[in-house]
Subunit: 109 residues, 4 copies
């Protein structure tokens, strides 16, 4: 994310989790679809995306950037021939303290 590191002020970040399931895939191996969605997320310079075992963690400065990125990721599966997609987004928006993916994870260790 441009200007994040080395800045004195980072600003509040919204942390979200995104997951996507294609339905009607014949096979249980849906990795190529999840990767396509992830690739779309990673193209968006306004967010930071970190893949995890059960979903992708997204960090962004505002909700609009998250939704714009998720919409592109979600729609990318229809371009691959999928006819039904279940997408989930969980947003943790804290306005009284700065938080990043790292600070939230470290706070638990």
């Amino acid at each position: 994310m441009p200007g994040r590191e080395g800045d004195t002020k980072v600003g509040k970040m919204i942390i979200a989790e995104f997951s996507i399931i294609p339905i009607g895939t014949k096979t249980t191996a849906v990795g190529k679809y999840v990767q396509a969605a992830l690739k779309e997320l990673e193209k968006q310079s306004s967010i930071r995306a970190k893949p995890e075992a059960m979903g992708t963690i997204i960090e962004a400065e505002n909700l609009g950037d998250i939704f714009k990125a998720v919409e592109k990721a979600h729609n990318s599966l229809f371009g691959l021939g999928i006819k039904r997609v279940v997408t989930e987004i969980k947003i943790d928006d804290r306005r009284d303290k700065e938080a990043t993916i790292e600070s939230k994870t470290q706070a638990l260790q």
Copy 2:
């Protein structure tokens, strides 16, 4: 939703579920916050919102309308003094068949 009833063609609908939790509320009774979010959803003419016990079901013609409505609902809680909000959206987007809140529920009965 304008033009939905009485039309011969309804078009594909996306069904989603929205839920919101305010964090740091002193009390366990968060109904007034959930109601404020719901009121914002109901103001949006581009979606249909139906409250349930564990979330609100949303029906809309496209994802952008859902995200626009959810963003307003989510942000409304900060206007009420809440400093941290966890919002979840689950989207079931099926492009090969028309579906509504009613058709999906009836199919299970």
Copy 3:
């Protein structure tokens, strides 16, 4: 649920939401699998199950009864030839006030 109706004291109820997605189904029409899971939930006398558009609402007196019912519902899909299942449970456990599916929904209307 034994002793629920007609009693003067109902006791605290836990409200939960259950949803299930079979992966690798060839078709986008997964209703028969969702119905099989729902049928298992409805067999369990220790919980009450109410199907909605995006999931099934469960009401029970304790968490163990919910997990026992969900495990049976989840496993029923493997008996139908499904090889991968994604199941979600969201539990709202409030110990300072009685709540039912109806009271939670009515509070929002």
Copy 4:
């Protein structure tokens, strides 16, 4: 987890994600409650728990072990004076292939 490493047969693992939100905490800083739940998960020798920014990933051989661990984690918050807890579990149960937290994450990189 006993016997996991160095064995020739690991067996199928179920991957799940757990998250917990205490309601009515006065403060937005709920880390101490999340840590208490995590501590309970880590006490359970039948599962493996890995904290992430938006939830804890659990790996176990069967669903019963996951539910037993989650129930203890969920209940631990009431012991700390919390009166309402929202817990979520998402289970990815794949029976046709071995999967671990690491294999699922690596497949996306």
